[in-house]
């Protein structure tokens, strides 16, 4: 008799999802799937809205990475206006994207993944959370909170106290960085840098302990996709989209506006999230996006300390840097690079410029905006009427682009660890942790309660529950 293991919901990710593991008659896993179980109807909601409003509207989809949606949306608007965005506005937008990467990655590492890493995959699940982490390492927990606060404060300084400000607008931004906020940032920079370096040291010290997880948490060759600057360095705001093979060979490097020539989307009957693949290779063209992919496609980071870590990361070899467990490592290097980028640019007088917005009417019927969200490359594609009303909108998010790789990851973990119908909690946690490495953001459409119990069921082909495990 074939059985199925269900993990519903997956905890410590953004949104609602579950994992099922299909077992054969001997209790061996044959396939695992990551299902997104909530429907998001936002794209339909955009139709008929003025494109000028889209940054503020789309930013409200997500409470974790609003700046990324603001930026991609405004960049699509830039193309519809057909204007040259003032250089000062570009610099201010870049500052916001670095702050966004920093604060989102800090949440992922310090609050969501550190309990697994520091307390252990098999530790008591009642304690394997942020409170257990505080008990184990209160200084690290406090530093993580302050690091995220640092990024959020920069975003608030640029956009106001509301989390979804319409600060980034088509044509530029609304205002510059206030001087008093610049000084606050300067004061906190050393602490942010030190916290990040401490975390990197901590993670590198744990890599030996997690050797087994590194080998089976989504370690397989795939393509990678990310933005790169004109000089090939790490990029979050602009540049070309570069696809590379698992061995690092560049397969394509093109303008993001051509994304539909290279990325195909397909719907799955078992999930509300679509899957994407590299179009020229068909469904076999699996690629990953996000921190790991960005560090696989770029030639260097572009800041001293991050470049030092980057060399060490890439020194692990191309086979190693195809391991999804190293998303954590890549995430920390990106925090470091963001801190350094903020430091390098803080004294640029353009950050206080009054010339931050180009204004125009509708000069093009279509626009594609692209930037790197913390979880991976993000596209907003709008078609508008002559009056600037949205005729159609397509948002291509990171989680969809990692969907095939996430499914291969849970399958790999299931096949390695599950040997029968009695599955220890620590193994189920590894399945979840494999997903958490990608830090998927499913964008809660409403704010769900913090308590997300884990429910695991073994279900027979006739729907009968053979056994059940619940925690939380």
């Amino acid at each position: 008799m074939a059985d199925r293991i269900v993990i519903d919901p997956v905890t410590r990710i953004e949104g609602h999802a579950k994992i099922t593991v299909q077992l054969d008659a001997d209790g061996r896993p044959t396939e695992a799937r990551f299902h997104v179980t909530e429907f998001r109807g936002f794209e339909k909601m955009y139709e008929g809205r003025p494109f000028w409003e889209m940054p503020a509207i789309t930013a409200r989809v997500c409470g974790i990475c609003p700046v990324s949606h603001l930026t991609a949306s405004a960049k699509a608007g830039d193309q519809i206006l057909a204007v040259r965005v003032p250089p000062a506005a570009v610099k201010l937008r870049r500052l916001a994207t670095w702050a966004q990467v920093l604060q989102s990655h800090a949440l992922s590492f310090f609050h969501l993944s550190s309990p697994d890493l520091l307390l252990g995959m098999d530790s008591d699940p009642a304690r394997r959370n942020i409170f257990g982490l505080i008990a184990e390492n209160p200084d690290l927990a406090r530093a993580g909170i302050r690091l995220r606060q640092f990024g959020q404060r920069i975003i608030a300084a640029l956009g106001g106290q509301k989390i979804h400000p319409a600060w980034v607008v088509p044509g530029g931004v609304r205002h510059a960085l206030p001087v008093e906020e610049r000084e606050w940032v300067r004061e906190r920079l050393p602490e942010a840098k030190q916290t990040t370096l401490t975390a990197i040291g901590l993670f590198k010290g744990l890599m030996e302990k997690f050797r087994a997880e590194t080998e089976v948490f989504g370690k397989f060759p795939t393509m990678h996709l990310g933005l790169v600057a004109a000089d090939g360095s790490w990029e979050t705001y602009d540049g070309a989209m570069r696809f590379c093979d698992a061995d690092g060979t560049t397969v394509a490097e093109v303008a993001p506006a051509r994304y539909q020539e290279f990325i195909a989307e397909k719907a799955e009957s078992w999930s509300f999230v679509k899957s994407t693949y590299f179009k020229p290779r068909g469904p076999a063209g699996v690629y990953r996006v996000g921190p790991l992919a960005r560090l696989n496609v770029c030639d260097r980071m572009g800041t001293p300390l991050a470049d030092r870590e980057f060399i060490e990361f890439r020194g692990l070899g191309r086979e190693a840097t195809n391991a999804s467990f190293l998303f954590h490592y890549a995430r920390l290097i990106e925090i470091l690079c963001s801190v350094e980028k903020i430091e390098q640019h803080l004294d640029d007088p353009d950050l206080q410029s009054a010339h931050v917005r180009a204004e125009a009417g509708v000069n093009s019927p279509e626009g594609v905006g692209c930037c790197e969200a913390p979880r991976g490359i993000l596209f907003h594609h709008y078609k508008v009427t002559d009056d600037g009303l949205i005729r159609s909108a397509n948002l291509l998010i990171a989680t969809a682009q990692n969907n095939l790789a996430m499914n291969r990851t849970v399958t790999q973990i299931a096949k390695h660890y599950i040997t029968g119908r009695d599955v220890p909690e620590g193994i189920l946690n590894r399945l979840e942790a494999g997903i958490r490495a990608f830090d998927p953001c499913l964008s809660c459409s409403t704010h769900a309660a913090g308590q997300m119990p884990l429910h695991v069921e073994l279900v027979g082909p006739d729907g009968e529950v053979v056994s059940s495990l619940r925690r939380g």
Binding site: G63, I64, F131, A135, A141, I145, Q149, H164, C444, T446
Partner: protein, 147 residues
């Protein structure tokens, strides 16, 4: 240490889920001395740093069903151990206590919503209840500040 922090939270693209932000904005419009207002989509861990710096915090949220407006005292007792990208007020209070060794006096004020569909703006019921919730928060703040 500040006096009062009001945090309104919810997703304003989900109809009456935007009650919390609407309540917070109504409180902010009053310009009360010693009162800081935050509007967020969801409660996230770094808010613990702000909670540690105030004497009293008032969370404003939407509710499904129940009375039009409800105000309850909260503390960290019974908070769940799991914290995800988002938290509930009790979990955030527990985090504040665990990290900073103290938690402010806390209230949760909820207003019932009627429509949580995909749309921008509150329903008439949600709007009326949000106004009543802002009034109730005004009373709580008055008790805290002696105003």
């Amino acid at each position: 240490m500040g006096d009062v922090l009001v945090i309104g939270y919810g997703n304003t693209l989900r109809g009456d889920d935007g009650i919390g932000p609407a309540v917070a904005e109504a409180v902010a419009a009053r310009g009360l001395p010693g009162v800081r207002v935050r509007v967020v989509q969801q409660l996230t861990p770094e808010l613990a740093a702000e909670l540690a710096e105030v004497r009293r915090v008032v969370f404003a949220d939407a509710a499904v069903g129940g009375g039009a407006v409800r105000a309850v005292r909260l503390d960290a007792t019974g908070a769940g151990g799991v914290m995800t990208h988002t938290a509930d007020p009790r979990g955030l209070l527990a985090l504040t206590r665990a990290v900073y060794g103290r938690e402010p006096e806390a209230w949760l004020v909820t207003a019932a919503g009627a429509d949580f569909g995909f749309r921008d703006g509150l329903s008439p019921t949600g709007r009326a209840n949000a106004g009543a919730a802002a009034e109730r928060i005004g009373q709580i703040i008055g008790e805290a500040t002696g105003a």
